[in-house]
């Protein structure tokens, strides 16, 4: 895949975008890290201290951090398709790299914050969940792999949304609400394992981001019973979006049709 082969170009484009976006701010690039850190701080305080959840609050903040990357990417993707885009990225390969650099832009702070979180967990929250050093390293690697996977999933989801939102302009407003609902219906504080199996399946299948928190729980709790059914929706979404948009680079024609109308 061109994304791996041209990763240096992607990171160059991302760093230039960082420079451009944060140039006029006093704290510049720090904001990109301060925002998720603030979130993590609040969630950890609320769930670990106020709800006496111990390390559980900390686990939640890891999932929230990952979800923040998704929601920022999906929210910002509605602005990707614009008239000037074809002027400097006229071929499918260029567009793919440009779009992926925009996703990577939102995930960079996550890559930096994950080891910080694992380290802080070992220092402060290694009480109710006692992880050995090896287990902490394992968690770090697994969370990194999950983040990379989520980043690609996000890319597959964002490109069609960017295209659809140009035709269906209301989607830009709707997407924010849908993401909030998806977050509330994710297994953050609860797991969908009620006595009513229909409700369980509905929650696990209906939410395309359910699997992220499910995997996060699996990574942290180890003996956690993973709901494989939650992988169906992301699989169906990925395959159908690939067929609709990515196969034979259909998206470039779709951009052409959309951009000036």
């Amino acid at each position: 895949m061109g994304v791996f082969k041209n990763f240096l170009i992607i990171s160059k484009l991302t760093s230039l975008e960082y420079k451009a976006v944060h140039r006029t701010k006093l704290f510049g690039i720090l904001w990109k890290f301060l925002n998720p850190l603030l979130f993590i701080g609040v969630y950890t305080f609320v769930f670990s201290t106020l709800y006496s959840g111990g390390s559980r609050g900390y686990v939640i903040s890891m999932g929230i951090l990952l979800f923040s990357g998704i929601s920022t990417s999906i929210n910002s993707c509605t602005t990707w398709v614009q008239p000037k885009i074809l002027s400097f990225a006229s071929s499918p390969k260029k567009l793919k790299l440009l779009f992926f650099s925009k996703i990577y832009f939102n995930f960079i702070p996550i890559f930096y914050l994950i080891p910080v979180l694992v380290f802080v967990q070992r220092i402060i929250f290694n009480i109710d969940f006692k992880f050995s050093l090896l287990e902490s390293v394992e968690i770090l690697i697994q969370v990194y792999l999950l983040t990379i996977f989520v980043m690609f999933y996000c890319y597959i989801v964002c490109v069609p949304i960017a295209l659809i939102s140009k035709r269906l302009t209301d989607l830009k407003d709707l997407i924010n609400h849908l993401l909030r609902v998806a977050l509330y219906l994710s297994p953050i504080l609860w797991v969908a394992k009620t006595e009513n199996s229909f409700v369980n399946y509905l929650l696990q299948i209906g939410n395309p981001f359910y699997f992220i928190f499910e995997t996060m729980n699996y990574i942290i709790y180890r003996s956690y019973e993973f709901a494989y059914i939650s992988l169906i929706t992301p699989f169906v979404i990925s395959v159908s979006f690939y067929l609709l948009v990515f196969r034979k680079n259909k998206f470039i024609n779709q951009i052409r049709e959309i951009v000036y109308r």
Partner: protein, 243 residues
Amino acid sequence: MSNLITELEDCSFRYDVVKNIFLRKGEVSNYSNKLVLESVNITLKKNAIYGVLGKNGSGKSTLIKLIFDVLKPSTGIIKRNFTKGKLLDTPLFFHNELNSLDNFNAIYSLETFERLNTDNFEKKLAVFKELCQLNNEDLYKPISNLSSGMKAKVGFALTMTFLENVDFLGLDEFFSFGDAEYKKFSTNFLKSKIKESGSAIIISHSLDVLSNSCDEIIYIDKGRVENIDKPEIIISQYTKHLK
């Protein structure tokens, strides 16, 4: 088709209908169903330079966008006999908050998929600097802090540095950059690029540019192609119509 670069058969174009359900029917129908181009039938030959002339809103830009496959016709067929066509309408920037050199770096990465320390990079950078004619201090200023003349120069240079191996060139009002001296320089440079590509189509309100560069001019009025002929004939028809 072998000696033709493109052919439009009975092409019409209208923009999408306004979807907002809260707009009253009368308000929508007044402007949504109007044809921007109506039954256009033209054939453009290879190795010829065409101009497009017409008043503002007559459909010139829509026509050129149809030719270069940026827009799809609402009805009709377009046959294209070029593989590396390039439409130049707006100057190229990656980001307004970056300086000229960073903009160059970004576009270089996207255009060449190469690292920024190759010989080719140095060559292209030299071409870019020569084309934009800015001093070192201005090259490091963000685009948003440059004067509009300087911005135009950078945009022109960024676009032109990466314009290579084009077999059909489209220029939509892509003239008049910077001060009088630079305008002359950029126009001459564009003319050399047009010659290089062999076939081109130019939209301009400058009668000088059209009469000096084009073999034939397409005259459009209210979305209809009125005439295609030699520059002097079309220009006199156009100026009469203006009076």
